[in-house]
Symmetry: D2
Subunit: 371 residues, 4 copies
């Protein structure tokens, strides 16, 4: 009798059903289970307290969407073998495997290998353990598999990763700006000349998707207070590294995969709590501020701030966002008459001017004056 697992997920009306034994085995792998202890949005929960959701739930959510997308494409006559289906599912399931705790922050201090590379290393190791069961998945992930559109489902401007995280982050933060008609977009997917495209009727939904992502960027991902919190954590880790304090158990340079795989959000947070009692006044103060959520004040501006003398309590930085990337492959729209146009030409709303627009924000953070 087939083993079948039902995984509950509040984002998609309750649950996801998995019965493929290879996929089940991957989900049970310790490196996959580790993602239960890594939050998808790092410190964002300090602003949006509901945003405690994990990379584990995101990776399963992306798997769910991949399943639906493959089904839609098959119904439209796109040829995808059962083996390719499984491989595409495995590729999306594992696409974020290499993330460590507070990735965007820790990559700048703790780890000197980008998370995409770590993902690939981990996939290769699991593949070995599973006697090559991930061969095709790795090919799709690395974009060496002939059917290019399978890679685009995993990584492109309209991939299952983005579709899931936009909806998921919106659900858990409560910011409705990110609600995207996911089902509708997926039902509009198609393949044309080995490229993932969107049927003509899906054009408005794609517009909504691009705009939602841009709004989520500033409303959530680049929220002032989140940036302030990230900056505080970054400074804590820098100071700890400088002091070489113990238990700095997550010092991961030179890079060691097995050591890396043992570290998660909890280790960082427990260390920060521990360092509240450090003899170093800077480290001790920074850590108390983090534990008790006394975050730096922060100001944003469209112009750069004057340089400040470097300090653990004050500094400047910059953020950049473009909702859509022309250097990357454009999202394409397939018309009933067979034409296939990039969204920048197909859309009446989102012309090149809008899509190209790149917003840069400069920020300056400094100690908050107690009122």
């Amino acid at each position: 009798m087939t083993k079948r697992k039902i995984i509950n997920d509040p984002v998609y009306d309750g649950f996801l059903s998995v019965d493929d034994p290879v996929i089940l085995k991957v989900i049970e792998h310790p490196w996959f289970q580790r993602q239960r202890r890594i939050k998808q949005l790092g410190l964002t929960h300090l602003v949006y307290p509901g945003a405690m959701h994990t990379r584990f739930s995101h990776m399963l959510g992306a798997l769910n969407l991949m399943g639906r997308a493959l089904e839609v494409l098959r119904q439209k006559g796109v040829e995808i073998s059962d083996e390719e289906c499984r491989a595409a599912k495995l590729a999306i399931l594992l696409h974020d495997l290499g993330h460590g705790p507070f990735s965007h922050t820790s990559e700048r201090v703790l780890v000197d290998v980008p998370h995409e590379e770590i993902t690939l290393l981990m996939m290769q190791r699991i593949n070995k353990e599973m006697n090559g069961a991930l061969d095709m998945a790795i090919a799709i992930f690395s974009n060496t598999y002939p059917k290019h559109f399978l890679h685009q489902l995993v990584s492109s401007q309209l991939d299952m990763d983005r579709l899931d995280y936009l909806g998921r982050d919106s659900f858990f933060t409560g910011v409705s700006e990110g609600i995207v008609g996911t089902d509708r977009i997926i039902s509009m997917l198609n393949v044309h000349n080995d490229e993932l495209v969107v049927d003509e009727k899906g054009i408005y939904s794609v517009e909504k998707f691009i705009i939602s992502r841009r709004l989520m960027y500033w409303q959530v991902y680049m929220h002032k207070t989140v940036i302030a919190a990230d900056q505080l954590l970054l400074n804590i880790l820098r100071r700890a590294r400088e002091l070489n304090v113990s238990p700095f158990t997550f010092q991961l340079s030179p890079f060691n995969l097995d050591r890396f795989a043992e570290v998660d959000d909890d280790d960082i947070m427990v260390a920060v709590k521990h360092w509240q009692h450090s003899d170093d006044e800077i480290l001790c103060t920074l850590c108390k501020n983090m534990v008790n959520r006394r975050l730096p004040a922060i100001r944003f501006s469209n112009e750069p701030f004057p340089e400040t003398s470097p300090s653990y309590f004050e500094g400047t930085g910059q953020l950049r966002n473009r909702s859509y990337d022309f250097n990357d492959q454009e999202i394409k729209v397939l018309y009933k008459d067979g034409r296939c146009l990039p969204i920048s030409e197909a859309s009446d709303q989102l012309d090149r001017h809008f899509l190209e627009k790149q917003v840069t924000k400069y920020y300056y953070y400094y100690p908050k004056v107690e009122e």
Copy 2:
């Protein structure tokens, strides 16, 4: 200018606005902020991965509902002074303050003081720091304040605590069984002879609430796999205590309030990860099982299982639920004609037979055989 804080909450359509400086100060207190690191449902996220929400978010959610309830009662002519409003809000805001990590489990091993008592101790300490600003809140919480109905809003069979956690747990697990017409119930609240009652029109909503709570009990709170996970953690903590292993930093007996206030979910999980490398094979095995989510098998039955010889891997236990407590004060319904009847008489659906029903389940857990 008044400081005003907007707290985002996906459960109630986005956010909660707070501008009372005393309430804001309490929220900023380290002991309140600590609840950001304690999950509302302990290990339930091993079954419902979305259930990562914290006691912090629950306590703010209950504050939100209290604000609405007080407003409704005032509109219906119930006299509540501004000071009483603030005190009732503070009482519900702090009602769970004394919870430690994985309370239901850890209370059986780590702490020998019930969490209700700890809550009171903590409220008293903060009150001292704030020069008596919580006097009335503590009176309401302890049910010594003359207006009895204010205590009932904090703690009774239809309090703001239960209303929030049912809706919140339902939202984050994705189990629709717990969705309750919260707004509707609150709009039906009233006070009669100093007792919190429900207007006649709210009778169906109260029925729904009682039933939802019962269903959530078995579907979520007493879910088989959650019980198995709790049991595993309990056995880990017991073994660790027996071995007196280090870093058993959260050994909290004899009880010390300040030490207790430093411990949260992260400490437990990091210790469990650490003990995977213990020399003690039992502890090491149990911890590896927890970290990699290899939970014991478990069977439920309506009859007791035969006693097994005590072991860290196998054992029995029992669970009990009654959706409604006759020993506690009954929920009362106020009719237009002035009568006031307990729900067990007012309801056509939920008669005494149904409400009194108490379900006991026996369970037996044992090592899962690898397939």
Copy 3:
């Protein structure tokens, strides 16, 4: 190229996709399109203004659920041919075809044939027009098809009809009591000895479903003010028949299928508006009351009211509800060990006492005194 139609539906996350040409042809049939003009809940919108949804949307929603249910059953190894799938879908799609406007009211005055019979007559006629394309669907609908469980999907205590209308009526009224974990229930469906059953894990969801239906009964379907409005319309139609006023174009006795198929909600409402100008003071007053929503006062009681002298403005009646019917076939639960028990034995919560409970309410309506 296959014609594919996307039908938008807010209840199930946006839309339903249909590409079976036979099903598409049936949807385009005038008798099916007529259901666009018949509200699912008659006059209920006078209490719940959102409840304007039509039988058309319900029938398509039930089709949607049937599609999902058949897919789940096939995945579990139940043998269902493509032809049987189509037939089961057609059967549920057409299951309400014979409803006229304000069925429950009009069946007591205008039409002397029950709507189930009319549905069958209409299906037979369409079948003729389509050269027997509905043969199997009619067999399933009439329960003469060998695979009994297909009929149960269309009509039983856990059929797609009930699942859709509970969720739909809940959505459009805004009464959360009816929210049912539809997806979850459907994913738990199974077939055992040619009977539709529910897998063990679905037991709580079935409990929720039975209770929700009961709560919706009193909160919506038997809402006092809805009963008062129904009574008013009933009296209008009775008076109009008595006077034999024109344009009583919807006089449908003796029964004529083609004439019947031309009448919908709009005809009734336009006639009522017209009769506001009648010379008959009773009819004129009743109609003005309806058009301007001046409904009779109504009182409910558990005891019968004393008989009143018959009048168009005052009278008594009774309502009855049992959430579950023991005379009908019980919902059955399939255990992993192969046992199959009726829900009344399987459920810890809903024992026979609860399920058998039948609530009868008596009502008395009378002219509202202007304040």
Copy 4:
């Protein structure tokens, strides 16, 4: 004892509570109740079957939002008297009173007075009946009341009308593009120099609102098939007027207020059904097409189509949309430092180029060829 009415509304979590006797009296007025029989989106339900919602529900929804907005403004220290509150509520409650059935279509054939004027006429008549109780409401509606911002809450680029209909139309169509953070926007409203403005923090929500409106425009309000259906109805009414057929009871020229107030959607639909049996083949065919939803084919283009010879079955037209109107007053953003900038300057995303963009679409409709 105060009379209190609870009006159920699925859009805003269930319900709206009204206890102002003047507002209750206006709601009970026949001219207000008439809006129960006029659909908010005319024939849109032929594409989005859930879109049966009425102007009645929209007007109450806008009242709900107005209540919240006034409360927010008062909490921020804006002076608004109780009388002004009531008047602003009455103004928004009645803002759409003058709409007839299928307004946008019928205004081109049946009525030669724009609906805004009819609204004012109706408000004045009701005001007379209520002895001047609407004096201030009419002043606010007509923008003659000194506090200009009250008018802006009723009619401006960010009024309660638009906020309600976007959310409502999105809910009932199931098109998530229109979901707007209504609560959030309202909580950000403020008044600066007697002008309605948005606090700095609300800038992203306003961006979302402007974009959502634009997307809803093309996805719903200007949906191809809806335009085709409108065109069909327009041609039916034109032909009927040309033939002067009976019962053309809704011929409303010269304009007569009382006659106008008697006509609603039902009359139009019953007449169309009646005319299916007309001797005039054109009228008969057009009406059969409407009743059975056999709509014209339609093509959209960015370029004008060549003129066709006029016909009841074929023709051209054009549609225009700008999501934001620079001729109208701009939405303004209030910064913490006291600056107040128009959104076109305040927004990084929506610059003047985007906001000014006006999209014109040309269409050509023609008889659908039966497949």
